[in-house]
């Protein structure tokens, strides 16, 4: 069974308080090599059958309509998963 991966990130110009909190946590734990952190979302959509171009197009539409909010987020990837889960 194929899977389609959709990745969504907060827009660069939008404040990401979650990323900010994570960044603070990293510093407290001594991970000092990192600057800003931004937190996004990864969705895995199981496909019945093959991940055809049509399925990918549908995933892209779903990504724009429900999985992301274009006011605050960008869909950065819609692709067929190749890795093992």
């Amino acid at each position: 069974m194929a899977r389609v991966v959709v990745e969504v990130m907060p827009k660069p110009e939008i404040l990401d308080p979650q990323g900010k909190a994570i960044s603070g946590g990293l510093t407290r734990l001594g991970f000092t090599g990192f600057g800003e952190v931004r937190q996004g979302k990864r969705f895995e959509l199981e496909v019945d059958g093959e991940a055809t171009d049509e399925v990918l197009a549908q995933a892209r539409e779903a990504a724009e309509k429900l999985l992301s909010n274009p006011v605050i987020e960008n869909v950065v990837a819609v692709r067929v998963a190749e890795d093992a889960r």
Binding site: P17, K20, L66, V71, I72
Partner: protein
């Protein structure tokens, strides 16, 4: 809460105007009973609506109350924005029906594209609960006609994800067309851009805001300073709008 909401004297007080206002309950809604009570106190009949309903049961206006919806998974209001009842709400709103979204209801109005912009986590990363001063910047909407332009009101605010954001172009348009209905005064509690607390659509029938007018409709229960009833105007405005003949 139940005893107060079922107070028969309050129940009888509603419906004087002949106006009925629906209050939608989603899985996770908290403030539907308070919103219904506010409607009753304003002389209208509250009608309980359910998120899975397909119709609005003939109501004259709709309130999307605060709390949560569908766990607010994905994004606040995102799943609710596509709930079965929202199709009816969106088409009624586009036809001019007064619709008010409070807190999570505001988030739902944005997610269903009835209002522009989005609400994100508070910039200070904390949940905040306080009595909040607002300036009324538009007293011509279906929900603010009983206020005066520039009036300051004080009503409760309680949110974790109340930061209003939109592009500069959208913010400019909202400001230049008078669609900023409320601005935070004294303190911006959540990092909302340009201190925006509430907005309206082009027609002025759909209003969304983060603070909670339904918690400030009866003396002794709202904010201690200023009488605690500054939220009444929302509901009386809607009743007046509907009675005076839309």
């Amino acid at each position: 809460m139940t005893a107060v909401a079922n107070d028969p004297s309050v129940a009888e007080a509603g419906a004087e105007s002949g106006v009925s206002i629906g209050v939608v309950t989603f899985p996770g809604t908290l403030d539907d009973r308070d919103a219904a009570r506010a409607v009753r106190l304003a002389g209208a009949k509250p009608v309980n609506l359910w998120h899975a309903d397909a119709t609005l049961s003939g109501v004259d206006g709709v309130i999307l109350p605060g709390g949560f919806s569908y766990g607010d998974y994905l994004r606040c209001g995102a799943i609710a924005g596509f709930a079965p009842i929202m199709e009816a709400v969106v088409s009624a709103a586009n036809a001019g029906m007064p619709v008010l979204g409070i807190c999570n209801g505001f988030q739902i109005l944005c997610e269903s594209h009835l209002l522009p912009g989005a609400l994100i986590r508070n910039d200070h990363q904390h949940f905040i609960c306080r009595d909040q001063e607002l300036v009324v910047e538009n007293a011509n909407t279906a929900w603010t006609g009983d206020y005066t332009q520039g009036q300051t009101i004080r009503i409760p605010l309680k949110n974790g994800e109340g930061g209003f954001v939109a592009t500069d172009e959208v913010l400019d348009e909202l400001e230049s067309t008078g669609r900023v209905v409320f601005r935070y005064q004294g303190l911006n509690p959540n990092g909302s851009l340009r201190n925006i607390a509430g907005i309206t659509n082009e027609a002025g029938n759909v209003v969304g805001l983060m603070p909670h007018p339904e918690h400030a409709v009866e003396a002794g229960f709202g904010p201690e300073d200023g009488g605690g009833i500054d939220g009444q105007g929302f509901f009386s405005s809607a009743v007046r709008t509907l009675v005076s003949g839309n």
